[in-house]
Every structure is written in structure tokens, then in C-alpha cells.
């Protein structure tokens, strides 16, 4: 049996079959359970069938508002619950991502300029250990329960990691490169931005990419606790009336979106930095 052989080389067909197997098994198991439960209790809502879920998706995306039955599908979709929730969460997500770029610059400066380093590093190392969720009540009291506190939660939760990652990447640039920069007439900022930042940037993007899940985690925590829209708000709300037929599509939708953002960043990284080899 070659199953546990380090040098094994699975063929293309085998690779395809094996890599999709767990998806197929998961889906099958789900629908077998659903069918079984519905045979016992036709009104079961815990494990919705495909029909129930389609209905949930339809209601969340294309169901016309009352008195507006003849709107086009696109208008109906853009007014739909799912799209409105996605927009609300997406906006928070983008603002948080935008706030990560100052974090990258701070990390760079901490790593490059010793005075900036000694000023910030100790504080940020401490700040990094604060559990973001534990300051949530403080945030709500300080900033109210509106947008700001949710954004702040993400900032507190994710920026220290990005700052420290960038700092470490900066420190990993060989001294030769820095000396080389100076001997070619570069100024301090030329070396910081055009030598150091430029060559760590693809790794910084990777680090941001790997922290996308953390961003989403804090975004969801904020939305579930205090919000009136957003994907996580909806999931929390639907839980109260056991709207599993909508919750499950929502969960899959979020996973799909995150997957696409990740993929886009990966492709972008490769296109923008053709010289970059991932190790």
C-alpha cells in the first residue's frame, strides 16, 4: 500500500478524487440526515432540506418587497437582505483593512529607525497581549455601540500583529542591502521605503492575508453583540427564530467571500511582484 509513503506521487485522477472526497462526503452526510429527520418530523427546522434552503436563499436575495413585484431581478437583489448585510459588513471590513496600512508603516519605522523602535516597541509588545474581546465593554462605553467601537475592536485585535510582523520582516532584511543602499547615494527614507519596504512588501501582504480571518473574527464579534445590520448581525438574529435555512447559506456565503478576497490578494501579489518566491 502506497498510502503512507513519503515519496508517493498520486496521479491526477486520484488527486482530483481524493481532494473532493470530503466535500462530497460532507454534503451527502448532511442530506442523508436532513431526509431522515424530515421523515420523522416534516416540520423540522434544525437540519433544513435543499428545498427549505432554496426558499431561505430566495427570501434573502430575490424576494420582492410588497407592492414592488414587477421590479427587475437586479433591483430586487440590490435591495435584498443578503446584499444589504454584505454591504454593511464589507464597508467595515474595508475600513479595517485600510487601517492596517498605517500599521505596516509603523512597523517599518520601528524596525528601521532605532529611536522610533525604542519609543514604540515595548508598548506595542504589551498592547499585543491585550485580549481584544476583553476590552469590548470598555469600547462600548467609550465609543458608544455604533461603528467606531466595532472598527476599534478590529484595530486593537489585529494591528499589533501586523505591526510586529512588519517589524520582524524589516529586521530580516540583510545588512548588506542597507549598506548597499547608502553606498549608492540613497537617503534614509530611500533606504526605508525603496530598499526595505519594497522587498518585504509581498511578505507583508501575505501576513495581512493570513490575518484576514482575525479581521473577520473581530468584525463578527462586534456585529453579533452590537449592530443593526451586517452578516453576523443577521446570523445572530436568525438564530433566535431558528432560521437554519438562511443561516447555513449565510455561513457558506461568508466563507466564499473570504476565499475570494484571499485568492484575489494572492493573485495580485504574484502579478505585482513577479520576482517574489514564496519559501
Amino acid at each position: 500500500m502506497k498510502l503512507l509513503e513519503i515519496n508517493a506521487q498520486p496521479s491526477r485522477t486520484t488527486t482530483w478524487l481524493l481532494s473532493w472526497f470530503l466535500f462530497a462526503a460532507g454534503i451527502t452526510a448532511y442530506f442523508v440526515t436532513a431526509t431522515k429527520r424530515h421523515r420523522e418530523n416534516p416540520d423540522d427546522r434544525v437540519v433544513p432540506t435543499l428545498a427549505q434552503m432554496s426558499e431561505g436563499v430566495y427570501n434573502a436575495t430575490l424576494k420582492p418587497e410588497e407592492g414592488a413585484e414587477n421590479q427587475s431581478a437586479w433591483t430586487r437583489f440590490s435591495n435584498s437582505m443578503l446584499w444589504q448585510d454584505t454591504k454593511a459588513s464589507g464597508r467595515r471590513f474595508l475600513i479595517s483593512m485600510a487601517l492596517l496600512f498605517p500599521a505596516v508603516l509603523l512597523g517599518l519605522h520601528i524596525g528601521v529607525f532605532p529611536y522610533v523602535g525604542v519609543f514604540f516597541l515595548r508598548f506595542i509588545l504589551f498592547f499585543d497581549k491585550i485580549i481584544a474581546l476583553s476590552v469590548l465593554p470598555i469600547l462600548f462605553i467609550a465609543f458608544g455601540i455604533d461603528e467606531l467601537s466595532k472598527i476599534m475592536l478590529i484595530v486593537i485585535g489585529v494591528t499589533p500583529t501586523i505591526i510586529l510582523d512588519t517589524f520582524n520582516l524589516t529586521r530580516g532584511v540583510p545588512e548588506e542591502q542597507i549598506v548597499k543602499g547608502f553606498t549608492l547615494g540613497a537617503s534614509q527614507f530611500d533606504v526605508a521605503y525603496r530598499v526595505i519596504l519594497k522587498q518585504i512588501f509581498p511578505r507583508v501582504l501575505n501576513s495581512i492575508r493570513l490575518n484576514l480571518k482575525a479581521v473577520m473574527l473581530f468584525l463578527f464579534a462586534g456585529e453579533m453583540i452590537a449592530s443593526s445590520d451586517g452578516l453576523a448581525f443577521r446570523i445572530a438574529l436568525l438564530r433566535r427564530n431558528m432560521g437554519m435555512n438562511t443561516i447555513i447559506p449565510y455561513v457558506l456565503w461568508v466563507a466564499l467571500l473570504l476565499f475570494l478576497v484571499d485568492l484575489t490578494m494572492r493573485v495580485l501579489n504574484r502579478k505585482l511582484h513577479p520576482w517574489f518566491r514564496e519559501e
Binding site: V179, K180, L184, Q199, W275
Partner: protein
């Protein structure tokens, strides 16, 4: 005439361990000086001192009679590893120096920049051809080049600035013997053509004698920090003499051992 480089009574110590002990060297403009010594004897440290990247614990380093506490565009540098910017093409590696020198970060969006950039690229292409590379190599990234080609580009990158001094730290040590021979011929030729003063560090005895007009040997026979144990113009029997000193350095790591052997 003031020497180009004056290393005056220089010592370097790290946390009580003396690396360089009382080094005195004067280099005149136009010399090709090779510094040799066994691994860890402080050759790279000496080079970093001359670059201004590091400061001596004692003594002083003067370039044309003036102290410098920072690397600058008058002292070119070709290290053994990481000698090129990995994120820039060969061409951009060479034009980097002229570009940053003439254009501050935010002046790079002007039409004047685009015009000058074309000039810089012309010069870079010329240098590339002179170094035995083709124009099509200009668009490649460093990791698409062989080690020898990378070092050619690194030399071009340094020479485009027309530095007073070119500092090379084991620049050919990672190359295979054939390529190494080629590079030695190349740097000799460039030295003759440009008249640049070169300070070249190596631990290869024959390389030292082939390349230099003058050889300086560092050694640390008694553990009190490396000293200059040989400073000589190149002559016919120099290789044998260095070989003898080298063996001595290897066989006598501490004076106590010498005494035991003698008695």
C-alpha cells in the same frame, strides 16, 4: 600626498573580546589592496569600518584625511551575498544609484525624471555590455542570473556611481573556479581602466596574489585580536611567504601550545 584611506591605530572589541588590535594601514589612491586572513579574523569588520558602517572602539578611520561616520556614495560595496536588490530588475539595480542621487522620492513623477531615466538606462546598458552581459539580461531579476552574472551586475551597480573606493568582501568566494577566474580578470581590467582604488577581502591566498598590487594579511596568533602580520607589494615569491605564514597561523592557535611543542 594624503593617503586615500588612513586606518590609524584602530582596535575593535565586542563585549570584551578584541577582534582587531592596533591596526595601521595607509592606502594610496589607485592601489589594489587585498586583505587576507583566516575565517573570523575580522576582515569584514575592517571593511565595515572603512565603509563607515561601524565605528572603531579605539583609533580612527580617515578618508582623504576626513572622518566619516556613515556609508556614502564615494565608497562602493560589493558583498559576497545579497549583493543585488532582489525586487528590482538588473537594469533598475544599476540605475538605482543615479536615480536616488538626482531625484528625491517625490520628484520621480516629473517629465524631467523620465528623460534622465532614459539617460541612466543608456549608461547602464553600456556598462552591462562592458561587463560581458547582454541587453536582454537587463530585464531579468537577480535570481534568474547565475552567481557570476549577479556579481558582474553588482560591480556595475557600484561602478556606475564612479566611487573613489570600491570595497569588495569575498565577492567571488561563492563562485565556481572557472567563473572565479573570469571575474578576477574582469575586475583587474576594470581596475586598470577606471583607476578606482580597490580594497578586496578574501581568504584565498592565490586570489590575493593574482589580484592585488599589495597584500595585507591579518592574523590573531595569540588571541589578543588580529594584527597586520604582513603588508607587502606583490612580488614573485609572495605566494610562498603567505603560505608559510598561513600554516603558522593554523598550527599555533595559542602561544602556550608553541612553548610545549618547543620544549
Amino acid at each position: 600626498m594624503t593617503p586615500l584611506i588612513t586606518i590609524d591605530d584602530v582596535s575593535v572589541a565586542y563585549s570584551n573580546k578584541t577582534i582587531l588590535n592596533d591596526i595601521n594601514i595607509e592606502v594610496m589612491a589607485g592601489e589594489f589592496v587585498v586583505v587576507i586572513g583566516q575565517t573570523g579574523c575580522g576582515k569584514s569588520t575592517l571593511l565595515r569600518l572603512v565603509l563607515g558602517q561601524e565605528q572603531p572602539s579605539r583609533g580612527r578611520i580617515l578618508i582623504e584625511g576626513c572622518a566619516h561616520d556613515h556609508p556614502d556614495r564615494h565608497r562602493g560595496y560589493v558583498p559576497q551575498k545579497y549583493s543585488l536588490f532582489p525586487d528590482k530588475t538588473v537594469l533598475d539595480n544599476i540605475t538605482f544609484g543615479p536615480e536616488v542621487e538626482e531625484f528625491a522620492m517625490f520628484n520621480r513623477f516629473t517629465p524631467r525624471f523620465r528623460r534622465s531615466r532614459r539617460e541612466f538606462q543608456e549608461r547602464a546598458f553600456e556598462l552591462l555590455r562592458h561587463m560581458g552581459l547582454s541587453e536582454s539580461d537587463g530585464a531579468k531579476y537577480p535570481d534568474q542570473l547565475s552567481g557570476g552574472m549577479q556579481q558582474r551586475v553588482a560591480i556595475a551597480q557600484a561602478l556606475v556611481m564612479q566611487p573613489k573606493i570600491l570595497l569588495m568582501d569575498e565577492a567571488f568566494s561563492a563562485l565556481d573556479p572557472g567563473t572565479r577566474d573570469e571575474m578576477q580578470m574582469l575586475i583587474r581590467r576594470l581596475w586598470r581602466e577606471t583607476g578606482t582604488t580597490i580594497l578586496f577581502v578574501t581568504h584565498n591566498i592565490s586570489e590575493a596574489v593574482i589580484l592585488g598590487t599589495r597584500v595585507i594579511m591579518l592574523a590573531n596568533p595569540d588571541g589578543s585580536g588580529s594584527k597586520v602580520i604582513l603588508d607587502s607589494e606583490v612580488y614573485d615569491g609572495l605566494l610562498e611567504r603567505i603560505g608559510g605564514l598561513w600554516q603558522l597561523g593554523q598550527r599555533a592557535p595559542s602561544p602556550s601550545l608553541c612553548v610545549t611543542a618547543a620544549s
